[in-house]
């Protein structure tokens, strides 16, 4: 396979869009783990998830953050596949 005939500008804009996505996704990643699971855990623990015995902060620390992590990777992967096509930098 040969290199796509990207001009520099196309590649630069693709990269900028990717960086913007990364920032958004990493902020969510940070908020659910370090934020909800650690820094604000005591405040959130005052709330109990309705219908369960989970204090909210504790749940984020031991369950919720992990679910969000999985969702983040699949969503990022999906959005990047679209972005690759939009900028014509996808494989094959």
């Amino acid at each position: 396979m040969t290199e796509q005939p990207n001009n520099n500008d196309n590649a630069r804009r693709y990269w900028a869009r990717n960086l913007r996505l990364l920032v958004i996704f990493l902020v969510i990643w940070w908020v659910v783990s370090y934020g909800a699971g650690i820094i604000f855990v005591d405040a959130l623990d005052a709330i109990t998830i309705p219908g369960t015995g989970f204090p909210l902060g504790f749940w984020f620390a031991q369950q919720g953050s992990i679910y969000v992590f999985v969702a983040l990777i699949f969503t990022y992967s999906w959005l990047m596949n679209k972005l690759d096509k939009e900028f014509d930098v996808h494989e094959d």
């Binding site: 396979m1 040969t2 290199e3 796509q4 990207n6 590649a11 693709y14 990269w15 990717n18 990364l22 996704f25 990493l26 990643w29 783990s33 370090y34 699971g37 650690i38 820094i39 855990v41 005591d42 623990d45 998830i49 369960t52 015995g53 989970f54 204090p55 504790f58 749940w59 620390a61 031991q62 369950q63 953050s65 992990i66 679910y67 992590f69 999985v70 983040l72 990777i73 699949f74 990022y76 992967s77 990047m80 596949n81 690759d84 014509d88 930098v89 996808h90 494989e91 094959d92």
Partner: protein
């Protein structure tokens, strides 16, 4: 059929499966041996990554660890999963585009320096050996506990199996055996967890039972007629006995932040995990494959805290104030208590001589139980190192939580045998992945790329196999003669990965200006800082009050990583930028198109 027979059948069956896969997936080229010819399906790679990543410690010890730590156990749960987000978003797709075979390949090429390559090789080999020693030991322990063979014989059998598929099949053999091992280990983990969830909360899904009301056979007995959630009951039980509330922690917030950070970045920087993403056909596959990997890992990692809470509730309820000898009409300890006491993972000292188990906060013994040959008044094993300063009479090894789970819940013999097979699968799969990193580092990074570039493909493959064989033997040696500091050096593995590789790779992809001088000095600064802190506190007798801001050695890698970033950034500013072809390389790896397809070997 008894447990022994079942264990022989199930463990024997899984081993036969692993060997069969090894024969079927022999490696013929270095491409096969290092990266499975880049033909691994992303879902299969996800499974293999899951098994590669989840070690004997994840399988056997983690739930127990969380059980005794309560909230604080979250550092492991978030730390060991959050790293995959970093991997999927910041590392895997770009390293896959870069191609090649190893992490030192990237570091060496991107920073146009064999010095950087060798620093990376030394870190990779050190990190891998640190980790693998514990796995081999784990294999020996599982064998001795379930099949009643000598630990050393167990290590020997484990070595033989790993030798077979790692040396023969390289990455190709390892990948497909790991995928099979994942299936074995997750099945072995979930079956008892589901049973226990039903017994305590009447829910089929442990993650839901974890937050539900107590119900079911054991649960309603614990609740004693009340309608109360498992969480509330557990907090109540913990507080009554003087422990911290289960849902709140004891560690300082800064320490929790640092440990979680070090574990996340360390996970993303561990060479045996990164290299798995070289094996998929495309950049796109590398992204999604990390998602599958975390999905498969999350199945176990979200179950573990549920198991931890179930087991803790059940443990307290079963043993607290129970009499050791059977007394008519009184609560007495169950049979599994005595079984595990015989293996030395439980110990009871009747400090107040009332014949009942008092389980309260504080260490019952000074360290691990030192059993004498005698039996006490009630038939209990006598220990010589009782700790008179606490009222606690019970010593519980954390590994019991997973190993004894099936017995605690009265599950059939085949489930117990399954847990043995699962523990072995977890240990063997991780060991194989690590050994491959060691062998590749020697044959590819040192021989081919630095010392003997003229080596032919055939010779390189032979060198890789010889190196793998040697690595298996060294790992086995450490398994049989475990250095006393294995537990301590695990902090090292993560600390080093996080303060060396992680920043070097991130800068290599995201900062075009990062150059050789900057990154080599950054890596050295990060490693030296982290290593000195860990060595001082783990080996030279540093005391807890000397810790910086209360940051424990497990978390110091996070600071080491920041130091690495800072030094690399500043030094790069004041030294010449990387050559133009390196800047083009960075441009090249940032876009997916133009990657080499599945068949390309070099």
């Amino acid at each position: 059929m008894d447990v022994q027979t079942w264990t022989f059948i199930i463990v024997g069956g899984t081993f036969a499966l692993y060997i069969g896969i090894a024969i079927w997936s022999r490696a013929n080229t270095t491409g096969d041996f290092y990266i499975a010819g880049r033909g691994v399906h992303p879902v299969v790679n996800g499974m293999a990554t899951g098994a590669d990543w989840m070690s004997a410690a994840s399988f056997i010890s983690m739930a127990g660890l969380i059980s005794f730590m309560g909230y604080d156990g979250a550092v492991y749960l978030m730390g060991w999963t959050g790293g995959y987000v970093l991997l999927a978003l910041l590392l895997a797709p770009y390293l896959r585009k870069f191609g090649k075979f190893t992490v030192p390949d990237f570091v060496g090429d991107r920073y146009y320096s064999n010095g950087a390559r060798i620093v990376a090789v030394v870190c990779a080999v050190f990190v891998s050996f640190t980790y693998v020693a514990g796995q081999m030991r784990g294999v020996g322990v599982v064998f001795s506990r379930f099949l009643e063979v000598d630990i050393n014989v167990g290590v020997g059998i484990g070595m033989a199996i790993v030798f077979f598929y790692a040396v023969l099949g390289g990455m190709k053999g390892i990948t497909y055996t790991q995928a099979a091992q994942y299936c074995v280990l997750i099945f072995a983990y979930l079956v008892p967890a589901i049973f226990i969830s039903i017994l305590l909360t009447d829910k089929y899904i442990p993650q839901i039972g974890f937050g539900a009301n107590l119900a079911g056979d054991i649960g309603s007995r614990v609740a004693g007629g009340e309608t109360i959630t498992l969480m509330d009951k557990l907090n109540q039980l913990n507080t009554e006995l003087g422990f911290a509330e289960y849902t709140s922690g004891k560690k300082s917030m800064l320490d929790v932040l640092c440990i979680t950070g070090a574990l996340m970045a360390g996970t993303a920087g561990l060479p045996h995990v990164i290299v798995r993403f070289y094996t998929v056909p495309k950049v796109r596959d590398a992204r999604i494959s990390a998602g599958w990997a975390l999905f498969f890992i999350a199945l176990l990692y979200t179950t573990a805290p549920a198991v931890a809470a179930f087991a803790r509730t059940n443990l307290i309820n079963t043993v607290s104030e129970a009499s050791y000898a059977e007394v008519e009409g009184e609560k007495s300890i169950p049979q599994w208590f005595k079984t595990w006491e015989d293996t030395g993972l439980l110990a009871w000292v009747d400090k107040n001589e009332d014949g009942k188990v008092q389980y309260v906060a504080g260490a019952a013994l000074a360290g691990k139980p030192a059993f004498t040959e005698e039996r006490g008044a009630h038939g209990q094993r006598i220990v010589s190192n009782s700790n008179p300063e606490t009222k606690n009479e019970l010593y519980v090894d954390r590994d019991i939580i997973v190993l004894a789970n099936p017995e605690i819940a009265n599950l059939p013999a085949w489930v117990i045998a399954l847990v043995a097979a699962g523990g072995l699968a977890a240990a063997l799969s991780t060991a194989a992945g690590l050994l491959l990193v060691v062998s590749t580092s020697v044959s590819h990074d040192l021989l081919k790329r630095v010392f003997v570039p003229s080596i032919t493909e055939k010779q390189e493959l032979l060198a890789a196999r010889v190196a793998a064989a040697f690595a298996v033997m060294i790992a086995g040696y450490f398994g049989i003669n475990p250095p006393g500091f294995v537990a301590q050096v695990v902090a090292f593995a993560f600390g080093l990965a996080c303060s060396s590789f992680f920043p070097a790779i991130i800068l290599g992809i995201f900062v075009k200006r990062a150059n050789r001088e900057g990154v080599v000095s950054g890596m050295l600064a990060g490693i030296i800082f982290t290593a000195s802190y860990i060595i001082y506190f783990k080996f030279l007798g540093g005391t807890p009050d000397q810790l910086w801001f209360g940051i424990s050695p497990e978390g110091i890698g996070a600071l080491g990583m920041l130091i690495n970033f800072a030094v690399a950034f500043v030094v790069s500013r004041f030294t010449p930028p990387p050559p133009i072809e390196i800047q083009e390389l960075v441009e090249h790896i940032r876009v997916p198109s133009g990657s080499s397809g599945p068949s390309a070997a070099h």
